[in-house]
């Protein structure tokens, strides 16, 4: 078992021990009378467990993240130039070093050789590549003496680091343990401390979510900056064509892709907004309780279907059906030859619209339900019919919220990937014909990053610039939508 897992287990045992000792001690210092304690014994115990485990585990986590980086930096400078052959790089050599060092650790742990024997290994006498292969660690080439030396250095530093880790973390856990057990006295406000601990945990969770988002944005941003160093931004934002060419000299303009994205999204909204809205009106205003109990969950299930399934539906059902209507010349239903392939803007737009129906209807349903019953009563009480009431009172009152819902749906449509990958085609162009294949930002990101990719060429890096633009677009739409929806909620709260 590795040092780290032993350390973790030891800390957890100590924490459990602290839990019992502290609660015992709290009761005994109170002379066995629980009512004299400030908090329940459970809180004294939890407080001790918390102070034993959390600082120690926290430092351990940071140590585990930081140590490999530090060791690697030290070792990197000792790699002799001789190891860096033609077509290789220092990064590749470093990963070989790591593989050899880790392999040797495995050799020790499986008992093939002892720790001392691995330290005395010599490339002249043993075939280290074969030795490592024997324990399942594959190294790309024969291990040179210099390589072995660096790897041994790496191992030594890692060992040293682990020693220091144990030496610093174990006392930390012990100090936490001792202090918190000693503190378990009737006057100590363990309950409040635990409360603060829980608060800290919740704050940590919330900030992790936000921090990762920020990290994602920054990584996109850096890659995008790299892209713009290699490719003129004027071509990206204002150029007219998309023609990536892996031999270089590509046209990489977002505009044709943006056009495809927006065109497909508009068709999707034309399908989804009326149908979704009417469904919501029926469900919230007309349907009886039994229909509602049955239809609402059904719609929500529809919202949970993975989009790839919709994509398949586009590919095998909707696309061919459209071709039967608009294509095939004399054999087609209309006898026209307007559509040649199943992938088209209309195919993707229709299916995406179907995907968005439950989304629009469940949001609109919530919004329509938020319109106070008193307004409906007022209108009905004046002798208006239900549909007059809906058209003239409920919908105008719900309009801002519905606009917000539509914007949210639009931002989903813009970011949707699987349906357009399968249904829209791969040709980037400006065309107003919905029966032609077109392509979107998301599909191009997928295609630029699949297959063999070289993360230094503009043809690959353009994916990040596309992703960032998409992110900014959808973020903007979401912000506006949420603002409108929130404004609307306030109106009736």
């Amino acid at each position: 078992m590795s040092t780290t897992s032993l350390l973790v287990i030891a800390i957890l045992i100590l924490a459990t021990l602290g839990y019992f000792l502290a609660s015992k001690r709290a009761i005994s210092t109170a002379g066995g009378d629980r009512r004299k304690l400030h908090s329940l014994p459970v809180y004294y115990g939890s407080n001790a467990a918390m102070f034993t485990a959390i600082p120690a585990l926290g430092v351990l986590l940071i140590w585990l993240l930081a140590q490999p980086m530090l060791v690697e930096r030290n070792v990197l400078s000792t790699i002799p130039d001789k190891l860096i052959t033609e077509g290789s790089s220092i990064g590749l050599v470093m990963s070989d070093v790591r593989r050899v060092a880790d392999g040797l650790e495995v050799v020790v742990s499986t008992g093939t050789l002892s720790q001392n024997e691995t330290l005395k290994l010599d490339t002249e006498q043993t075939d280290i590549r074969a030795l490592l292969a024997g324990v399942g660690a594959a190294v790309g080439s024969d291990v040179l003496p210099e390589m072995l030396e660096v790897a041994q250095n790496y191992r030594a530093q890692t060992k040293m680091g682990q020693l220091w880790m144990v030496l610093s973390i174990a006392p930390l856990a012990l100090i936490g343990f001792a202090l918190s057990v000693l503190a378990a006295k009737p006057t100590f406000r363990a309950r409040n401390t635990v409360e603060r601990g829980i608060l800290a945990l919740l704050v940590l969770a919330a900030s992790l979510a936000i921090l990762t988002t920020i990290c994602i944005v920054f990584s996109m941003l850096f890659e995008s900056i790299n892209f713009f160093k290699l490719h003129p931004w004027t071509d990206f934002f204002f150029g007219g064509s998309w023609a990536p060419n892996f031999r270089g000299d590509s046209d990489l303009s977002i505009l044709p892709l943006l056009w495809g994205t927006i065109y497909i999204s508009i068709i999707a909204l034309i399908v989804a907004v009326p149908v979704g809205l009417f469904a919501a009106i029926y469900l919230s205003e007309y349907a009886g309780p039994r229909v509602r109990a049955f239809a609402k969950p059904l719609l929500e299930i529809l919202a949970g279907i993975p989009t790839i399934v919709y994509g398949l539906f586009a590919l095998v059902t909707v696309g061919p059906a459209l071709v039967r209507v608009f294509g095939r010349g004399e054999e087609g239903l209309l006898g026209v030859e307007w559509m040649s392939g199943a992938t088209a803007v209309l195919t993707a737009g229709l299916v995406m619209g179907i995907m968005l129906i439950p989304f629009v209807s469940s949001l609109s349903d919530d919004i329509i339900n938020a319109v106070p019953q008193s307004l409906r009563d007022g209108s009905l009480g004046l002798g208006a019919t239900p549909s007059e009431t809906i058209r003239q009172v409920v919908l105008p009152a719900a309009l801002p919220g519905i606009v917000g819902a539509v914007l949210l749906a639009a931002s989903r449509a813009i970011g949707e990937t699987m349906i357009v990958v399968l249904g829209a085609g791969a040709i980037a162009k400006f065309s107003a014909n919905p029966l032609e294949a077109m392509t979107t930002i998301t599909t191009r990101i997928v295609s630029q990053l699949t297959g063999d990719t070289d993360f230094a060429s503009p043809e690959t890096l353009v994916a990040f610039a596309l992703g960032l633009t998409l992110f900014v677009l959808t973020l903007g739409l979401n912000v506006i939508a949420l603002y409108i929806v929130r404004k609307y909620r306030e109106q009736y709260d």
């Binding site: 009886g288 106070p372 009480g381 004046l382 007059e388 009172v393 105008p396 009152a397």
Partner: protein, 265 residues
């Protein structure tokens, strides 16, 4: 005041506007109105009083079939307005509600301009020949709602922007604009301050000239001030019905007496 009411109702017409017989209302299994029979006179203010939950609103909502909008609600018995059974299958509840207007507990102006709020009913029912006609109807309704002077310069501003008392008078004007014959009011003053309440009460007294007004109230003083006839409800029964003055001075039923002396509430 009571003396005056008694005198007036003795002198006034006694034409029966609404006549209810053996009305039962069920919400699912909850028997909310039991065997209520009542004759409500034209051009009279009739007050429904009683402890909360006794079914006043429920019975009021039977009179314009607003209970139809509640799925689980079932009404039996007969209710006739101008000798026509309003629960007859040939009667269109939508048409009925135009004839029997309603004002609710909480002011509920639509999210529209003041003008459009009042014009709502006339537009739906096609009461106006042209724009000038509609302007006229709106102005007359607002005047009868005793709010014309306060809003005549801002007819296009939203109704929501008015104060609570103004909103309630706007809702009364809105109900009046459809030219109903009966006006039902469910605790119209319970969300209003005393000054606004006084204005609305004054208005109710004027409305009596043209309508039969039925008002639900939890305030006995209010019932005494505005009504000529009072019905006392208790646990779904109508316990006592008579001249307002008589109900408040010499109630016949011990339950009525307990209620108006504040022993049950």
């Amino acid at each position: 005041m009571n003396d005056k009411n008694i005198m007036e109702s003795h002198m006034g017409t006694t034409a029966i506007k609404i006549s209810a017989r053996d009305v039962q209302v069920y919400y699912g299994d909850n028997h909310a109105i039991k065997d209520v029979s009542i004759d409500i006179e034209d051009k009279t203010v009739t007050a429904f009083i009683g402890p909360s939950g006794c079914g006043k609103s429920t019975f009021l909502r039977c009179l314009n079939r607003m209970n139809d909008t509640i799925d689980i609600c079932k009404v039996t018995g007969s209710i006739r307005i101008d000798d026509e059974d309003i629960y007859d299958r040939r009667v269109d509840p939508v048409q009925l509600r135009a004839k029997v207007g309603m004002v609710f507990q909480k002011p509920n102006p639509f999210p529209k301009s003041i003008y459009d709020n009042v014009a709502y009913g006339p537009r739906i029912h096609g009461l106006a020949q042209n724009k000038a006609d509609l302007d006229d109807i709106v102005e007359r309704a607002l005047r009868r709602g005793a709010i014309w002077n306060e809003v005549k310069d801002r007819l296009q501003s939203p109704g929501i922007g008015l104060s609570g008392g103004q909103q309630q008078r706007l809702c009364i004007a809105r109900a009046v604009a459809t030219e109903p014959e009966v006006l039902l009011m469910d605790e119209p003053c319970s969300a209003l301050d005393p000054i606004a309440t006084a204005q609305v009460e004054e208005l109710i007294d004027e409305l009596r000239q043209s309508f039969s007004v039925v008002i639900v109230t939890h305030s006995m003083q209010q019932a005494a001030r505005v009504s000529q006839k009072t019905a006392f409800f208790h646990l779904g029964n109508m316990v006592e019905y008579g001249e307002t003055g008589q109900i408040f001075t010499t109630p016949q039923d011990p339950r009525t007496e307990s209620y108006i002396t504040g022993r049950i509430g």
